[in-house]
Each structure stands twice: as structure tokens, then as C-alpha cells.
Amino acid sequence: MGRSLFRFVDRLELCITYLFCFSLNLIFDYVKTLSLDSYILKAFLESFVDHQTLINLLFTFIVVVFHYQMLHRKKTEIYCRILVGDILFNITIRYTLECLTILGLVYLLLIVINVYLNFNLTSNLYLVCIFVIYILISASQVGKYEKF
């Protein structure tokens, strides 16, 4: 942890972005279970629910923004760590593991909420896959900052 690229604020920010994307999916699932009498309300909500996957995918872009700005801000730190003897491979692994841990914890929290609300557990699995892909892509970018 001591050698992590993450500070408390970064961890919090990543948690919030993951939570936001999962919660959005959860809200969609919840809206689908509502039996509304009002046609207007139903039509309005359907215009969003019909595009649930697309909207979720668009919002996952905030996670891309997080990874992008995180690495950009840390480029000096990565370079300095390598200067003082750290290895790029270890930095990348630590970064990947930390992102995956935060994702895992947030997903666990969502599983608990899904079980509590009796929702389908697999409905947000595709988001986990997408986030893992984002993590792997951003981890592959760590090497870019080996040379300052």
C-alpha cells in the first residue's frame, strides 16, 4: 500500500465512479420492476430503459476519464519511482491489483444490494468485464511514462 500510486482521494474517486455506474444499472433494474399506472410516466421511463445498455456503456466513460487522468497525473511519480529502483512491471502489477481490488469491493457491495432487493445478479456482470478491460488497457499505458 505504501508504494501505491493511489492516494486516499484517488481511491475514493474510483470507488465513486464504479458505484455510480453500477447504481445506474441498479436503478434501471428497479424501474423495470415498477408497475406504473401512469402511461405518461411509463412512456417517459421507457425512453430510457429501452436504451439501458447503451446509456450504461456511455456512462462507463467516466471510468476511462478517471484512469486517463490518474496516469497522466502520476507520470512524474512513476518516473521517480523507477529512478529510485522500482521496477515498471511491479508498478503496473500493483496498479492493476489495486484497481481490481476496488472494483471487487464495489461489486461485492452491489451483490449484497442485489440480493437484498431480489434482483438478478448477472445483470451487471457485463459492466465488470468492461471495467476489467479498462483496467488492463490503462495498465498497459503505465509503461508510457517509464521515460519522462
Binding site: 401512469s38 402511461y39 405518461i40 430510457f48 456511455l58 467516466i62 476511462v64 476519464v65 487522468q69 497522466h72
Partner: protein, 407 residues
Amino acid sequence: MKNFKFFITKIFLRKAILSIAMLLLFFMANYTIFTAARSILSTFQGYQEIKYMDQEGTYIANLDPDSNIDIDAIVENGTQIVYDYLNNNLKYAFYTDGFIVSLPNNDDMEISLNYMNEEYYKLNQFELSQGTDLDFDYQLDNNKEIPILIGKGLSKTYPVGSTIKIEDPVLEQSINLKVHGVLKKNAYHSNFYALNSKNYYNFSVFLPVNEDFIKHANIDLQLNGLMDVIILQTTKEKVEDLSEIMKENLGLKFNFFSQKENYEYFNEYYLHSLKIISIITLILLVIITGLSIWSALVSIRLMLKDFTINLLVGLSYSKLRKIFYSYYGILFFLNLIVVFFITAYSRYGCWLRKDATFVTYGVFGLIGMDWFALLVVFIFDIIIGMIIVENMLRKIKKVPISLGVLQ
């Protein structure tokens, strides 16, 4: 302009991910507002349209939800007995639509025949772009021409004065129609029970019906006409008697709601729904605006050095503010174009699908409510743009120039 070009190409576009994120967030905000504004306006238009019911002594028939339609259970001449009772004792507005007929036209659309009686015609006051009002006192015999109104989409193929011969689906015989008038373009009718949903009359034919016509029509027209029949200038006791007669002869239970009951129902049902839509939209907008500000501040974090270097070499804060406004202006403009094209595509899709009840005329098929919703989006964009730019500048001003350059 030089500064602006430099900022766009050398600063903003160098971190394209941030610009794309902003574009996506603004798109979602714009689309949410567009959908909400259009829903609210469409409902409001429907609400205005049914205001004619807001009169003392008006009752609207409504089939009881527990009543199932079983045509076999309807006694012989049952519907005619009900109409005889209506003709002798009450004043009623009759309207039914959706009877499809094959009628050649330039756009190759399916034509819907709509039937209405004189009372309904008076209540709605259809606006005509050409021609004269309908005459309901015609005789129904083989050679006589029935005066009709047509939608704007049919006016080129069938100008005022032309005659049309059709196989009428409710009379089940050939009749001759004479075009008396053309409705204004995009004339519409809102559904009683879904005020935000509209049927457009651009490819419709309006047939006036009188007692004789209803008498000779098949049970489909007679029964459909009773489903939403509006009883005018009457009392609760009289409509209860009518309900009894309908129950005896049709085996169906009809409820009749007064103007006051309808008004309360509409107020409770629609205002409540509109309030919820507004609240949901507001919450979504707050979230998206929050995310946009977060994304803008992230941009500041990453581009602070570039901004402060430019400030150091003589760029003033007011010029920087102008550059930011121009940059976000371009992003909003791109989003407005996308929303515009999505709407135009969905309107044009009705023409491609030959969906006659939804096709509309307008610039790229867009009608008044679409333009209104785009205007709301435009106003929102100005507000959110101001919030973001001022926040960015506040953040930049907080950092001393020397410290920013060192970053």
C-alpha cells in the same frame, strides 16, 4: 481567433478523451431535457385539447375495466336500441377512427377513415386550410356524394371538389365521397387516456355520420362509437338510465364520468405524472451537471500547466473566459446537431415505415413541439455552460501562476 485555434488544437484536442467525455455527458443531459420537455409539452397540448369536456353536464363513457367485450352476447339490434335511445333522449358526440381503407395516394400511405357526428365536429372545431365546413344532412343512397374532410397529405391527390369512390368498411358497400375541405397540416388528436400520445390526421379522411348512417353501419362502428361516446348537456340520472340500457342490450357495463370527476382525475393523474417526470429530469440533470463539472475540473488538473504558461505570457483571464465559452459553445452545438438529427430521423422513420398516423410535415419532419424542446435544450446548454466555465476559471484563478507553471 488565433488564440482560440491554438487552445483547441494544442491543448484541448491533445487530451481528446476529456473532450469526448464532455461530449457524451452533454449529449445525455441534452437528450434527457429534450425527452422531458417534449413529453411535458405534448401532455399539455393534449390537456388543452380535451378542455372542451370542461363543461357542466358533459359525461364521457368508459367501459368498466371488469367488463369483457363478447360480441356474441350482444342481443340482436342491441346497439341500434342504444342509439335509438340516444337519438330520442340525449345529445351526444360520436367519434371513432382507425378503419383502414385502400385509397391510392402520392405517398402510398394507408388511409384511416374517421367517423364523427355533428356534435363532435362542433366540439372540436377542426381548422381547415382550404374548403368549407361539413354538411351532416345528406341522404345515404347509392348515387349521393357524402361530403368529407381530408388530411393535408391527401390534398394534392384529391383537391377540394374532387370525388372519391371507396368500398366503405363499415357500410360494407361502395360509396361516393366529395372533398369539401382540407385540414391544416399536422392536425392531431390526443388519446383521451394518454394525453401525450397523438394521432396525426395528415393521411386521414373524415366522414360525417348522421343517424341514418349509424343505422346502416355494421356492429364494429356502432360498438366502437359507444366506447368513448360523449353525452352533452345532461344529468347524472339520465346517464345512469343510459348505462342501464347499455347493460341490458349490450351486456357491457359502462361508467360515465362527469366533467368534475374527469377534471379531478386528469389533475391527479397527469399533474402527478408530470411532477414525477420533472423531478426525475431534475435529479438526472443535477447528476450529469455534477459529472460535467468533475470532468471539467479534471481537465483543469491536466491542462493547468498549459493554461498558466499562456497566462504568464500575456493571456488575460477575460480572453481565457472567451476561449472556454467558445470551446463549450462548440461542444453544445455539436450535441444540439446530434439531438436534431436523431429527432429528424425518428420523424422521417414514420415516412419510411409508411406509418400514416404518425407522419408529420415540417422542416426535416420536425414539428412545433420538437423545436420548442430544442429551444429548452439550448437554454439549458447556456446555463450549464456558464456554470462549468465559471467553475473552471475559479479553479484556475486559485492557483498562483508561478506554481501552475512549475506543475
